[in-house]
């Protein structure tokens, strides 16, 4: 082993307090960046995941010039499902309705709500919205309705002297009634939807609530109602039309392959005014601001790492000062300035390597904990935690380089000491 490395190691390890301080400075810097990444990238990825799972799939097709796709969805779905990387595809139709509830025989509440029409058979294969039905079950017949949690709450009410009081379950609206006295719409209740069709005529239909849908973070259809797509088509008088086609790819499919499938689809239907987007493109407008936020938070993390570098610089300056006599002895017995420089830079490298190792281990520990526990904050959406090995490696490498750079000035100062003067130091 090079004597300089041996000496650097011994000098450092015999100053345990300084070593621990410097290693902690580096590792905490890395940990902060890792924690930031897990939380903010986790939220970002979770939003994309939920948007993909509930609304857009991996590829989202819609009409660029009209509110609906007039050609039969079967043509498109068959095209997609012939592609080797496609898991499933499903049509969706959207509209809006006035919802009315009757509880205990009394007309109770009236709301305007967005309505989503789904094909229950293919939708279950394509999206995960059916998994958000916590109570009851998903749309299974033409007169069943799944009500979003918020809508259910808004359509509910509180009992007062044997009568129901409208205003949802919010006690501030219902005159200070305790939440225990209020109840939302439940499975088995009936809801009447009034939808204005494309000719301006109101179409009314009564539905039985078969399920209540709720998602952590409200990324699903908590503020909508979901009915059978054919029922919605009938009510809108838009037979065979869809608003969009949602496509689910197989899990192994990467972003490049998704873009290729999208392009092939657009090339196959050039005259239908269709637009197709991958999930990254669909989520772009929603998440562009969020990405700036992540960049800002990461910047704070990197400032933290810069502070660690200052801590190392200070600790290294202290180490150099405490080793002045040793530097003088080394110089007297023939060590060159370069050798002294290398010894102290090696100390920086040892600190950097240990700090990077410890910080990465702590960061990985936190990441694993977040992944195993499906970490979420106050009932919000569960973080989508991934091991980004490139990012982990880059952070560790950056910390190592910073520790080394922070050692250069103290090391340079060490080389400037004259042997005779240095040896006089106690």
């Amino acid at each position: 082993m090079d004597y300089r490395f041996n000496l650097a190691k011994r000098m450092l390890f015999n100053k345990r307090g300084s070593l621990i301080g410097a290693v902690l400075a580096v590792s905490i810097g890395i940990l902060v960046i890792n924690v930031n990444f897990v939380i903010f990238q986790g939220i970002y990825d979770a939003i994309i995941r939920d948007m993909s799972d509930y609304r857009f799939g991996d590829i989202y097709v819609y009409n660029d010039e009209s509110s609906t796709i007039e050609k039969s969805d079967i043509v498109f779905i068959n095209w997609f499902e012939r592609m080797p990387n496609v898991e499933a595809a499903t049509p969706r139709l959207e509209g809006s309705a006035t919802a009315e509830t009757r509880i205990l025989g009394q007309a109770h509440e009236k709301f305007n709500v967005p309505v989503l029409g789904v094909d229950p058979i293919s939708d279950i294969r394509t999206s995960r919205i059916h998994e958000t039905v916590g109570e009851g079950q998903y749309v299974y017949s033409r007169n069943s309705i799944v009500v979003g949690e918020s809508v259910a709450s808004d359509l509910g009410g509180c009992s007062q002297d044997g009568f129901f009081m409208s205003g949802g379950t919010d006690p501030t609206v219902t005159g200070g009634k305790a939440i225990s006295e209020c109840q939302p719409v439940r499975v088995g209740d009936s809801v009447k939807l009034i939808i204005t069709d494309q000719w301006g005529i109101d179409q009314k239909k009564r539905f039985v609530v078969t399920g209540i849908s709720g998602t952590a973070g409200g990324q699903g259809f908590d503020r909508s109602v979901i009915i059978h797509i054919d029922t919605l088509r009938d009510m809108l008088d838009r037979s065979g039309e869809s608003r969009s086609i949602m496509v689910r790819l197989q899990e192994s499919t990467n972003a490049y392959e998704a873009a290729q499938i999208k392009n092939q689809f657009l090339a196959a239907f050039p005259n239908d005014n269709l637009k197709a987007e991958t999930i990254e493109e669909s989520a772009e407008s929603t998440l562009s601001g969020f990405r700036s936020g992540i960049a800002m938070i990461n910047l704070i993390g990197y400032f933290g790492m810069g502070s660690s570098a200052f801590a190392i610089l200070t600790i290294q300056m202290m180490l150099v000062n405490s080793k002045t006599r040793e530097i003088g002895i080394m110089r007297a017995i023939g060590a060159r300035r370069k050798d002294i420089l290398i010894i102290f830079i090696m100390q920086g490298m040892i600190i950097g390597a240990m700090g990077a190792g410890a910080g990465t281990a702590l960061g990985l520990g936190y990441t694993t904990y977040a992944k195993i526990t499906n970490m979420e904050f106050q009932g919000s959406l569960a973080l989508e935690v991934n091991y980004n090995w490139q990012k982990i490696g880059e952070t560790a490498f950056l910390a190592f380089i910073l520790a080394m750079i922070a050692s250069i000035y103290p090391s340079y100062r060490a080389t400037k000491k004259q042997p005779v003067e240095a040896m006089r130091s106690v």
Binding site: D2, Y3, L7, N14, M330, I333, A335, R336, M423
Partner: protein, 230 residues
């Protein structure tokens, strides 16, 4: 070793102090030379000049017929490493290393693996530290540390070993042992020793004595110096 017109002046104008003034003398191979003088007479400055630890204002130092005046910093370091061995008053071992590692250090600095590990062990045996090889340098006594320092000074077979008050920090019995050890090494290895001391009597008979007084050197023991040391 040859010194020619060596002069060292510290400071400028009113603060100017001439530590060495036009000093010239030579030392032959194998000589055991004592440099004596009062505190502040310039003897440590002289040793620093010979050891190339400080640069003279004027004059030159030649060792093994090689003039050192125009050497670069790296060349001076290499020269010190190969041609000179140092023994200091406080041993000045590196506390972070073991006794053996301290002794090996001068031979490791040129990153030359040809110098055998066994050489360091042999010298440590000669100075009586064969059972202390793996002890940390700060865990041995003052006498043992000074023995290790002598071993370190000898490990590269230098042209000259320079010792600055090597017994100054030791009790009289240990100091006597160290003096005997240095004399023994000088004799066995035909090694040149230049020793700065103000404890003239501890060294008994030596090949040569040089007295430094007010920056000038005199061959032999100066009377005033003897009065101080008696």
């Amino acid at each position: 070793m040859q010194l020619e017109n060596l002069t060292k002046i510290y400071g400028e104008a009113e603060t100017k102090v001439t530590a060495l003034d036009d000093v010239s003398f030579s030392v032959k191979k194998g000589e055991f030379v004592l440099i004596v003088g009062r505190s502040g007479s310039g003897k440590s400055t002289l040793l620093n000049m010979i050891g190339l630890l400080d640069k003279p204002t004027r004059g030159s130092v030649s060792i093994d017929g090689f003039a050192t005046t125009n050497l670069t910093d790296n060349e001076i370091s290499a020269f010190r490493n190969k041609k000179l061995g140092f023994v200091f008053q406080f041993a000045n071992l590196l506390a972070d290393l073991t006794v053996l590692e301290n002794v090996l250090l001068p031979s490791q600095i040129p990153l030359d693996p040809s110098i055998p590990f066994a050489n360091a062990k042999k010298i440590l045996e000669k100075v009586g530290l064969e059972d202390q090889l793996y002890k940390r340098a700060n865990k041995i006594s003052g006498g043992q540390a000074q023995r290790a320092a002598i071993a370190r000074g000898l490990v590269n077979n230098p042209t000259i070993v320079l010792a600055d008050e090597p017994t100054g920090n030791l009790d009289s019995v240990t100091a006597q042992n160290i003096v005997q050890l240095m004399k023994k090494m000088a004799k066995e290895l035909n090694q040149t020793f230049i020793v700065v001391t103000h404890e003239r009597r501890q060294f008994g008979d030596v090949d040569r004595i040089i007295t430094v007084k007010d920056g000038h050197v005199f061959e032999g023991e100066h009377v005033e110096q003897m009065e101080v040391t008696i």
